[in-house]
Assembly symmetry: C2
Homo-oligomer: 229 residues x 2
DNA sequence: CGACGGATTGATCGTGCTCAAATCATGTGG
DNA sequence: CCACATGATTTGAGCACGATCAATCCGTCG
């Protein structure tokens, strides 16, 4: 089911303003190791939790990739975030999850009981403070995405996405996308055909090259011009 | 310059899942009263702070309305949130603001030094915890808006907006919009003409009535059907 | 090799945007 | 009080970007 390229998507996270899930790891995982350090592996396409389910755990991606999304009644889907190795997700303040989370490819995560995290936060100001900055960082990414979804053209959206992924992955200019064109489309508020056409157009204008559909080599200079803020 | 209807927009906040800025008031303002309780009034259209400016203060709306937005280089604007009486805004974890904030109409705010809030949070777990839930609540609203911006039709967006405003205002089913059609459009990722047409269509199908352009009476039942999730 | 799912490309359609004009509301000065 | 100016809103006409429907193309795996 899994291509090797998909399985190999586990590069180190680079520092970036665009990274949606934050690395509060230090403090959080100090407490984390005391409480519940279960590692778990989800198969590709497997659901991790559903929207409106009780938020029992917080997750940290070890390897693989996760998509968090919302659905409308008729099946329209908006992916709110992709979670890559190093990212935390499922960290709600409310007691139920706000989005559904699924493994995009085979994905290893470590689990932390939300309850114990809250206890920790109630005792340790450092942890509580980190929870705040984590949420605030996610909020900043969401604000950036609102600008993209509300006001950018298809080409700008795809360019922004590729640059974001490049920033979040290891080798600069070389991206192994773990997700399908449909996932990208649902992340950017487009259709998969429009995403494909945008990528083809970028290829023809030398903004990028494709080793295959999932492996992209960026010409960041040209791409950033097409991107706007 | 200001219509009386605009000045009168200061209804009490109702409890709602859609409210973007949260009421952490209790704890925060306990600390707040110790530190800096300056009240300030901004004229309509006046800038409160600019994107990328140092985030020196946190604000709480007393009366009026505030818009927070981002711009692209060519002037396209995405309003990330409207802040109504009772809402906090400008509460960043980073040391610079991520959006520009402007008074929509004449607006009274109370100011709190961000620095003193951080000091407070470092001492008091309750405050730090409240900061987290505040940011997380904002994040939840942002996730909801991403679904709207990425996947809803014009009609659904306007319907969702009106219901949101209704939930956030006092008298149910009666809304006094403080903002122009252009502001609404930039909040919903549409043009002002499309917003106007959507409202006209809703009027003709009995979903709402207009006393004037800014005063809307909703038929929530019919409206909610047109809205989807 | 053939089958399958994902991606690309093509042709056409439609929602929402653009450009433009008419209408309405509010405020000003005669 | 009314005529007029101004700005916001509504409405109209035509267009364009991205969606939809459909046909290959390609890579992977049986």
């Amino acid at each position: 089911m899994l291509s090797t390229q998909q399985q190999n998507f586990r590069t180190a996270r680079a520092d970036s303003r665009l990274v949606p899930q934050i690395s509060v790891d230090t403090e959080l995982l100090a407490g984390y190791s005391q409480t519940a350090g279960a590692q778990f592996t989800y198969r590709a396409e497997e659901e991790i939790y559903g929207e409106a389910e009780p938020a029992e755990f917080v997750y940290k991606v070890v390897s693989g990739a996760v998509r968090s999304y919302k659905l409308l009644a008729d099946g329209r889907r908006q992916i709110g975030a992709f979670h890559l190795p190093g990212d935390l997700f499922g960290l709600e303040a409310s007691d139920t999850h706000q989005l559904t989370a699924e493994a995009v490819v085979e994905t290893k995560v470590v689990l932390l009981k939300r309850r114990s995290l809250e206890v920790l936060a109630a005792q340790d100001v450092q942890v509580a403070y980190k929870l705040w900055t984590a949420a605030a960082e996610n909020l900043r990414c969401a604000e950036q995405r609102m600008l993209l979804l509300g006001r950018k053209t298809a080409l700008e959206r795809v360019a922004s996405f590729l640059v974001e992924m490049d920033d979040r992955c290891g080798a600069k200019g070389m991206i192994d996308l773990p997700m399908s064109r449909r996932d990208v489309a649902d992340y950017l508020g487009l259709t998969l055909e429009t995403v494909s056409r945008a990528i083809s157009q970028m290829r023809s204008t030398g903004m990028l090259r494709l080793a295959n559909a999932r492996h992209v080599e960026l010409n960041r200079g040209k791409l950033l011009n097409a991107m706007d803020a």
